[in-house]
């Protein structure tokens, strides 16, 4: 593909690049985060692992200390070289509440978040919105609508998700490059409007 030509011959970021920006692609399990990242990325999406310590809900009476265990979270991500000086990384970030420590790390330095929503599983999006708000991320909603029949009207969706009027809602197909890019562009335009 034409737009990928710049980096097709190398896994490396061009030498002149000074800035690496980060956007989170968030949403519940199996909503299409990795698909969207793969659709937009110039490199085959990569997977890395972060280890996190999480405090379990109960306290171990024998030791009198919170029972901590280490879990591994897989992060899928992709890259877009956007100019001679700028690359953008898209990080898929799982939306479960138990990944809060991960969110703290991921949110730091992120420009914002694209929240993928499956209209047939709206309730699973609520905890993800809670996390977004907890970490103060600006976001836009991308409704991943594989099936036009399951489309909610935008007003219904806004009401169901209790969105603020300025939060953008776009419909997209995470498998389609143009459509996914439009969703990302909508997010950036929103971020610019909010930053002024």
């Amino acid at each position: 593909m034409d737009s990928n030509a710049a980096s097709a011959d190398s896994i490396y970021v061009p030498d002149a690049v000074q800035t690496a920006a980060k956007i989170l692609v968030v949403g519940h399990f199996a909503v299409g985060k990795t698909t969207l990242i793969g659709t937009l990325s110039e490199i085959a999406p990569l997977r890395t692992e972060e280890k996190m310590t999480q405090a379990a809900a109960h306290v171990d009476d024998l030791r009198g200390a919170p029972d901590k265990k280490t879990t591994t979270v897989a992060l899928d991500f992709g890259r877009l070289t956007l100019s001679d000086e700028l690359v953008l990384y898209l990080f898929g970030t799982p939306g479960q509440q138990r990944f809060m420590q991960l969110w703290e790390d991921m949110a730091r330095g992120a420009l914002g978040a694209l929240l993928l929503v499956d209209p047939s599983r709206l309730a699973e999006t609520f905890p993800v919105i809670d996390l977004i708000e907890k970490y103060g991320l600006e976001f836009a909603i991308a409704v991943n609508s594989f099936d036009a029949r399951s489309r909610y009207a935008e007003e219904e969706l806004r009401e169901a998700l209790d969105l603020l009027p300025h939060t953008p809602v776009v419909y997209c197909d995470a498998r389609d490059q143009h459509s996914s890019a439009q969703a990302l562009i909508t997010l950036i335009q929103h971020l610019l409007a909010r930053a002024s």
Partner: protein
């Protein structure tokens, strides 16, 4: 005597990380965020005795800039372990890095505009 559960297998991933780091605590993300770009400084010779993992980081990072996340993914090592290995190389003066925007900084309109124009150029 062996208590029940004591012989449960420890995952190979755990042993591997532990050996690579010599059991040292993993550094926090401050020095190397996921999108910090790193490369081996030009004209550097690898130290004579590099562990296999440091050698693999050296070889990968000698070719140009990559983000910390990419180094970890391409070497199939946990990010925390890669941060530690990169810290070792940085302490010895072998590493160049281009930092991501500092965390406390308000999102920069200039960066947002560059991202927007880049996306529109690429996909518009």
């Amino acid at each position: 005597m062996t208590a029940p559960g004591e012989e449960q297998p420890v995952t190979s991933g755990f042993i591997r990380s532990y050996v690579i780091t010599n059991g040292r605590d993993l550094p926090d993300a401050d020095g190397f965020s996921l999108v910090t770009l790193v490369t081996i400084a030009p004209d550097r010779e690898p130290p004579a005795r590099l562990s296999p993992e440091l050698r693999s980081v050296w070889d990968l990072c000698s070719g140009g800039y990559l983000s910390v996340a990419e180094v970890a993914a391409r070497l199939e090592l946990p990010v925390g372990v890669v941060r530690l290995l990169l810290t070792d190389l940085a302490d010895q003066g072998h590493l160049l890095r281009r930092a991501a925007p500092p965390p406390a900084q308000l999102v920069d309109r200039k960066i947002l505009k560059e991202v927007l124009h880049g996306l529109q150029r690429r996909f518009g």
